[in-house]
């Protein structure tokens, strides 16, 4: 069994999340401006304020999420720490993982918006916002573990 390797969520993702949030706010404002002639003013103000407050909340909370997120991957298990107010610690034995999915978005080398999904029968575990390098590393470790398990079980059945 190899020693567990610790990964943290990519800090760059916070900056790009801010950029995305500002872009979204600007886009939403321009949509509201375009439809301002057809919708009552008070409805527009309420919609704008609701959207803006949700976005501000997300901008405030997201850095905390990134700071807290921590993943430990070894050849036999994966441990995850996630959450903001409710902290959740997850333990996933690799013996139950059937496949691993890596989601890499365009420009993810820059943004850090990469996700690793561990698929188990009956549950799914997501390791969000890891760098592309780390995502590949984690996927390789998990795939190796699956391969090893299949070899062992194949040998036993023979």
């Amino acid at each position: 069994m190899t020693a567990p390797k610790s990964y943290r969520a990519c800090r760059r993702a916070v900056f790009w999340f801010f950029v995305l949030a500002f872009g979204l706010e600007a886009g939403f404002k321009s949509i509201l401006h375009a439809i301002s002639g057809y919708v009552a003013q008070n409805i527009l103000i309420i919609t704008d304020m609701t959207f803006a407050s949700l976005l501000i909340l997300a901008v405030m909370v997201f850095p905390v999420y990134i700071l807290v997120a921590k993943y430990e991957v070894s050849s036999s298990e994966v441990r995850l720490r996630k959450g903001i107010i409710i902290l959740s610690h997850q333990y996933v034995p690799l013996s139950s993982v059937t496949s691993v999915t890596t989601v890499t978005t365009p420009l993810s080398v820059l943004t850090g918006f990469n996700f690793v999904v561990l698929n188990c029968p009956g549950s799914k575990s997501i390791l969000p916002f890891v760098t592309r390098k780390h995502a590949r590393e984690i996927a390789d470790t998990v795939n190796e573990a699956i391969k090893h398990r299949l070899c062992v079980s194949g040998g036993e059945s023979r």
């Binding site: 610790s6 990964y7 298990e77 997850q90 333990y91 188990c120 029968p121 009956g122």
Partner: protein, 502 residues
């Protein structure tokens, strides 16, 4: 044609038909709304006083469409077929039989043979074959065959499952009656709905009487209150009838319930007239669930359900292993039917500090409608009676939930013993006691909110192998003890030595 070639032809036809689905499938393959077209054609035929010539002239296009649809259904019936090997079943399904599915008998988790009342009359039977290959809720193979052919497949697959001389669980009729009564969809909901209807009728009736007195004589005919009770009665009767039908179908589905233990499989049979046969492969059983409602708990009775891919996922089907019996009997019968699962003593229970966490949220939810109704009375004093009624009716389910959660606060627990795990918890109004194997756990999560951190408690969420991502939530247990127990059993949340990647 010589006799020899005739025999050859008939044997070929028999062989062709034996690997096809039941001919009723042709009708099932035809478009569902085809009957609308048939109705209109019949209407024209009657209108033309059965003058076939003029009817054909007027409706030739509709008839061509009908023939095309029938032709497609026939082609589909011909192209969809199955093959039986020594150790596998191969089906050719989908468009023109293009999808080929091979399932080895060794990999089958559950095989179900289901018959509805109409299928029983035409000797048709639907065969469902499930494996653990798909994580999504879909059946691997579903074919409609004749009863005799489906029983052949059943016996072929269950060859290795020759029932061991030993325990057979048979549910007594009286107990099945209670089981159907309890599991018929929302009995409490129906009672509440009927009460609401009756109360609504009383209020509306009073309201109309008041209005009649207030209105001038010339306008009385507009109000028409004399027939209002008919609508309420009709609605009540309809709800009652639906419930009775649901109850009867539930009762008939589980009548003569027997569960037999085989070497590799559990054989479950149930149903009156239209019987159902299920084969559950023992090594693919995920867990046993001893289910109780609050009333069942009071009378010390319980029902045992089993989680196995494919079993109990069809419409109105319950994955029952033991439909209903006393709690003591249920434990003993489950031990005999599935000895690999055993219940173990709780190692960690809900801590006293967490009791309010169980009781306060439903109690608050019960108080809110009453508070709202008090405020509403101030704004609408004329509607006081209606508002009080709605407030009380809305808070009733939450008051009941508070009572249930009081019991849950002292019974929630978790225990490990060797390879066995037992989880006791309450989800909404139902108490569950899960007996599972440690290797069936796919993920363990520990959740802590600021209050839990303050009191040193946590919530453990355990995910198990299965088709649905069902989670078992053990709330309000001591954090340190839980970590220790989990570590002892191979779920270590603290790594020994982690090398940092950054």
């Amino acid at each position: 044609m010589s006799e020899k070639s005739q025999k050859k032809l008939s044997s070929r036809a028999r062989e062709f038909l034996s690997f096809r689905q039941h001919p009723v499938k042709i009708i099932k393959y035809m478009a569902r709304y085809l009957w609308l077209l048939l109705l209109s054609l019949a209407k024209y035929l009657i209108a033309s006083h059965f003058d076939i010539k003029s009817w054909l002239e007027a409706n030739w296009f509709d008839l061509v469409i009908l023939l095309v649809i029938f032709g497609f259904a026939l082609i589909r019936w011909i192209t969809v077929y199955f093959e039986l090997g020594e150790d596998r079943i191969i089906t050719h399904t989908g468009f023109m039989g293009m999808t080929r599915t091979i399932v080895y008998f060794e990999d089958i988790t559950s095989l179900s043979l289901c018959q509805g009342p109409i299928s029983f009359l035409i000797r048709n039977c639907t065969v469902y074959i499930d494996t653990d290959a798909d994580c999504v809720q879909s059946t691997d193979i579903r074919i409609d065959l004749t009863k005799s052919r489906s029983m052949e497949i059943y016996h072929l697959i269950s060859q290795k499952a020759k029932a061991q001389p030993g325990f057979v669980f048979q549910s007594p009729k009286k107990q099945l009656f209670i089981f159907s009564l309890l599991f018929t969809s929302a009995i409490s909901g129906t009672v509440v709905l009927l009460t609401i209807l009756y109360q609504a009728y009383l209020i509306t009736d009073k309201e109309f009487n008041r209005r009649i007195f207030n209105e001038v004589n010339s306008q009385i005919h507009i109000i028409e209150n004399s027939s209002i009770w008919i609508y309420f009665l009709a609605a009540g009767l309809l709800i009652g009838l639906i419930w009775v039908m649901s109850f009867l179908s539930n009762l008939l589905r589980h009548w003569d319930f027997t569960c037999k233990r085989g070497r590799n499989y559990l054989r479950i049979r149930s149903g009156k007239g239209a019987r159902r046969h299920h084969l559950l492969r023992k090594k693919y059983l995920n867990y046993l669930d001893f289910t109780q409602s609050f009333f069942m708990r009071m009378f010390n009775i319980c029902s045992v359900e089993v989680s196995c891919t494919g079993y109990g996922k069809r419409w109105k089907e319950i994955s029952a292993l033991i439909p209903i019996t006393t709690s003591k009997d249920a434990v003993q019968s489950a031990k005999l039917l599935a000895p690999e699962f055993s219940l173990c003593k709780p190692q960690v229970k809900t801590s006293k500090a967490c009791m309010p966490g169980f009781i306060v949220p439903p109690a608050l939810a019960a108080v809110i409608p009453i508070l709202v109704s008090i405020v509403m009375q101030y704004f609408f004093p004329l509607r006081k009676q209606q508002i009080i009624f709605i407030g009380i009716m809305s808070s009733l389910p939450f008051i009941w939930l508070t009572v249930v959660k009081c019991e849950a606060a002292v019974t929630t627990s978790m225990g490990f013993e060797g390879d066995n795990v037992t989880l006791s918890y309450c989800r909404w109004y139902t108490f569950h006691k899960i007996a599972l194997k440690r290797e069936k756990i796919t993920k363990v999560t520990i959740r802590r909110n600021p209050l839990a951190r303050l009191f040193g408690t946590c919530t453990v969420v355990i995910y198990t192998t299965g088709e649905d991502s069902r989670k078992h939530l053990i709330g309000g247990v001591n954090y340190k003890i839980t970590l220790k127990i989990l570590k002892e059993n191979g779920f270590s949340f603290i790594a020994d030595k982690a090398t940092d990647s950054e």
